[in-house]
């Protein structure tokens, strides 16, 4: 390991932990709702045993609510599974529109805690990039995390992707309401630079335009094994 990989490794674990904690919190909430609805069914049954007539419409609504929470849990677990498998390969083809949508879904609860929303405009034609899937997710997370941290509540962060023959770009705009003590030196920092070096691109924070732009090669040809310089 060199210092660059040390940063990437430890930051990658933090990213994994943060997303897993958020997902498990969501699952806990789903379980709590199912628990209460099942409990309510139990309450109705107890009341029926005491002679209170059962309201079939109400029972149907309760069953619908439980089914809807089960579907919600299923979506959460599917996303969790997709995220877990993003570490399987060190190099793979990633479609940027799908990736941006996926990252906003993973970060949605954390954004909601800060009263922020996301919008993604998928490119008209799929943009495929050959890269390290997990490291790119990690880099997008750094950008979202930074954007959420410095953007005031009630705002929308807008994600788009664009491409030419050689390069692709990811833009996160709508970054407003900077903290008073904000320093433009914060981003990109050491961890972002380490990752972007491995991914073969660069990250720019355009403070006046309120946006972050990631530029990445379509194929990581220069760094075939996606290892940092010097490895």
């Amino acid at each position: 390991m060199n210092p660059q990989w040390d940063i990437i490794g430890s930051e990658g674990f933090k990213f994994m932990g943060k997303i897993n904690a958020s997902i498990s919190h969501e699952i806990k909430n789903v379980l709590a709702i199912i628990n209460e609805n099942a409990g309510l069914l139990e309450d109705f049954t107890s009341m029926a045993e005491k002679g209170v007539p059962l309201d079939s419409e109400r029972l149907k609504k309760l069953a619908d609510k439980i089914q809807s929470q089960i579907q919600r849990a299923d979506r959460i677990v599917k996303n969790m599974n997709t995220f877990a498998h993003s570490v399987d390969e060190t190099k793979g083809n990633v479609e940027l529109g799908e990736l941006l949508s996926f990252m906003t879904v993973l970060s949605q609860r954390l954004a909601a805690m800060k009263e922020l929303t996301f919008s993604v405009v998928s490119p008209p034609d799929p943009i495929i990039i050959t890269t390290h899937p997990f490291l790119l997710e990690n880099m997008i997370w750094f950008c979202l995390d930074f954007a959420m941290e410095i953007t005031g509540p009630g705002k929308n962060l807008h994600l788009t992707a664009d491409a030419d023959d050689q390069w692709v770009s990811i833009t996160i705009s709508g970054i407003e309401g900077l903290r008073d003590n904000f320093s433009s030196e914060i981003f990109p920092g050491k961890r972002e630079n380490a990752l972007m070096q491995v991914l073969g691109g660069r990250a720019v924070f355009d403070q006046s335009g309120g946006k972050i732009i990631l530029s990445l090669p379509r194929k990581t040809g220069a760094q075939e094994d996606l290892k940092p310089v010097g490895e």
Partner: protein, 124 residues
Amino acid sequence: MRVLLIDDEKELVSTLAERLSFRGIDADWTTSGKEALEKLATTSYDIAVLDIKMPRIGGIELKRMISRQYPHMKFIFMTGHGSEEDFKIGSEEAGAEYYLVKPVDIEELTQKLKQIMSQQGGLQ
């Protein structure tokens, strides 16, 4: 005794309120700290049951705000995770016995509410 339940999961908090009503507890609910403060301005409550992690105003901050304005009120915290940090803060703010981990056991919550009520001299 009037109880205000505050949790950003509407399905959870509304069902909890209904189940408490079956147990003889007059419970109202809201899904945010802001709404809770608005309700408190117009209605008198004795106990607030708060989720620790909520958007904008978290449960701990909300408890402190409510305490300042309504010092008679008592609190029970709910959390999705029994993390050590949450437990430490929640216990300090409300007392360890008034810190519940989701899914909440309705009978335990009812018992805690009645316990507070009896300590308060039978609030009605």
